[in-house]
Symmetry: C2
Subunit: 360 residues, 2 copies
């Protein structure tokens, strides 16, 4: 085991943050890396993460008081999904000093993390992401939550996992489409805050697509470092953390307009980034050359299914974006590769025009 | 308006605490006392709190984006109840800078506060308690939550209301049984930490029972001061805060064993205190005289319906108490009136024997 450890600070000085472990072979060492005050764990896993869950079952033998496989489709990311985990955890005799372990993609970590946040008013949890999207983004940063008929992630809590294990072995059975679309979140982190990382990952793109582990660990660790830095400085998303939403304002609208079926999250974000590039050229001075570099990466990670761009369809989802406040809908613009900023009030027409225009 | 203001500090230095306002005529000044970053409010009220809600409707005229009356029976204190508030709030266009106002008893503040905790990962809320129990206890301290078939308050969050308005006018239509049983929580606070308050309230018991406002405000303000002091020193219930659970370990079991119908919360706590007095005499040196004084107050607040004391019925609820950890079930014992302590591991047999024995 040769692991890097990255700390993510939590909301407030008294609160516990996350330790992100990144390296090969971590799953086997889960017993010493995962956190549980009582030493007891409740395993919550996605069906597709079975290989990783099996390794954990071995590593945590005798310490599991629950072994629950959940429906991890986006449609199951609901308050009912949280209730099902809560039911099972309480029936298993969960105590305040026990801890959950969520093994899967972003849906699994979001739902299980939310369950941990509300069970007994909060128990500890750990995340073992089994998708590129969850490794680079979803599992880090403390946001948990579920969808609502009116929009994505409208219910949730800030409740960071105590430990996050990023082991490429967990990706072994990840379908190609998920592997590739998840890398969008890794690149996103580089584009908003780490130009050298973006350049390295661009050069390594063929290796990344071939699932070469060194290249993957470099991008994921870089993305986690970017996210850890930003989240630690603004855990509750009152300012700088919004930078991480680059591509997500329209991304969420595209995803919702596709009924959460047509597009993977990373694919919707890719289209959201393509649209944000248009607004960034108009309003933040992003050069045509750098916009083209970003699009080139997205094209090689794809091809992605086209989103539905109909303004009448997208507008209601944009209006419900939870970053909207009385002063308007903030957007994240790229000034250059490695440098983004928040623009507080971008008019709806600009969003919808960019949604119609953005190409990959 | 002649109000006292008591601050309750929150979990962590960065987090917002609660300002508790106590006095006559506060409801009319709600617009200046309740907190909302946007100035917009969502009113969530219990049917029985209609008089208080009506005053608030006037005081907040033009600033309400939702006016929702909820089912506030203990049976409706469920995750579904939270979902119904969330549905209505999101449909009303809730934004992150809006705030909820919960008007009612403990069920209303617990459910609406929990909804505020998870809506958009947390929006601000305010509490306007309309029962003695909620004034003296439920609305203060940041605990929100709902029941689960396996036990009370098993799902929830720590999410303090930003402002709490304690105005005796809100009690105008409170039924006698609720008024009296709610005072148990006020006395409980005095018994665990404030001997002079306990003495004053004992002497004023006839006035309290006659709903004399000065006597009531003295007891409620004293109870809030006790709770504020304890909660501020231990917001997440890791140590000293457990003192507030005096009478609640068995109280919750009695309440559950009665299907949350037979006993009011305060009544179940009264029986829980009667049992805890037995254990306190055995293990904490509580004198017979002081135990008798406590019982005398409880008797005058009653008579309360008898609880079900069958050990076979109570044991499973005790086992699920969420303060149980691997090291046993902690209990709160009274050493003397005004002084309580936590005993870490009290055997189940001792609990069940006291449950059978405790008289009022």
């Amino acid at each position: 085991m040769n692991a890097e450890r990255i700390e993510v600070r939590a909301g407030s000085p008294g609160e516990a943050g996350s330790a992100v472990w990144i390296g090969r072979g971590l799953l086997e060492s889960a017993a010493s890396l995962l956190f549980s005050p009582s030493g007891r764990f409740l395993l919550i896993s996605a069906p597709a993460a079975r290989a990783a869950a099996d390794v954990l079952r071995g590593a945590l033998a005798g310490r599991l008081i629950l072994d629950l496989t959940i429906d991890d489709r986006e449609e199951a990311k609901t308050l009912d999904g949280v209730a099902r985990i809560a039911d099972a955890a309480l029936a298993a005799g969960l105590r305040r000093d026990d801890a959950l372990v969520a093994v899967g993609g972003g849906v699994t970590t979001d739902v299980a993390g939310f369950a941990a946040a509300v069970l007994l008013r909060g128990v500890a949890w750990n995340a073992v992401p089994s998708t590129t999207a969850a490794m680079a983004d979803a599992a880090v940063g403390g946001k948990t939550g579920v969808n609502h008929p009116l929009g994505k992630n409208l219910l949730g809590a800030f409740h960071p996992p105590r430990a996050i294990l990023v082991d490429p072995a967990a990706l072994a059975t990840l379908p190609e489409r998920d592997y590739r679309s998840g890398l969008v979140e890794g690149f996103k982190a580089a584009w908003i805050a780490d130009a050298p990382l973006a350049e390295r990952a661009e050069r390594a793109l063929s290796l990344l697509l071939a699932r070469e582990e060194e290249a993957l660990l470099d991008l994921v660790a870089g993305a986690v470092r970017v996210k850890a830095g930003i989240v630690s400085s603004d855990p509750k998303e009152e300012g700088r953390r919004r930078l991480l939403n680059f591509g997500h304002t329209l991304g969420h609208a595209f995803e919702a307009a596709g009924g959460y079926r047509d597009l993977r999250h990373g694919e919707a974000v890719a289209w959201g980034i393509a649209a944000a590039l248009e607004i960034s050229r108009d309003r933040a001075g992003l050069s045509n050359e750098e916009a083209a570099r970003v699009r080139e990466v997205l094209a090689r990670l794809g091809p992605f299914p086209q989103p539905r761009r109909d303004p009448a369809l997208l507008a209601p989802y944009l209006a419900r974006d939870k970053k909207a406040t009385a002063s308007g809908r903030a957007g994240i613009l790229l000034e250059a590769i490695g440098r983004a900023r928040v623009e507080e009030a971008i008019p709806e027409e600009a969003w919808l025009a960019a949604a119609a225009r953005g190409q990959i």
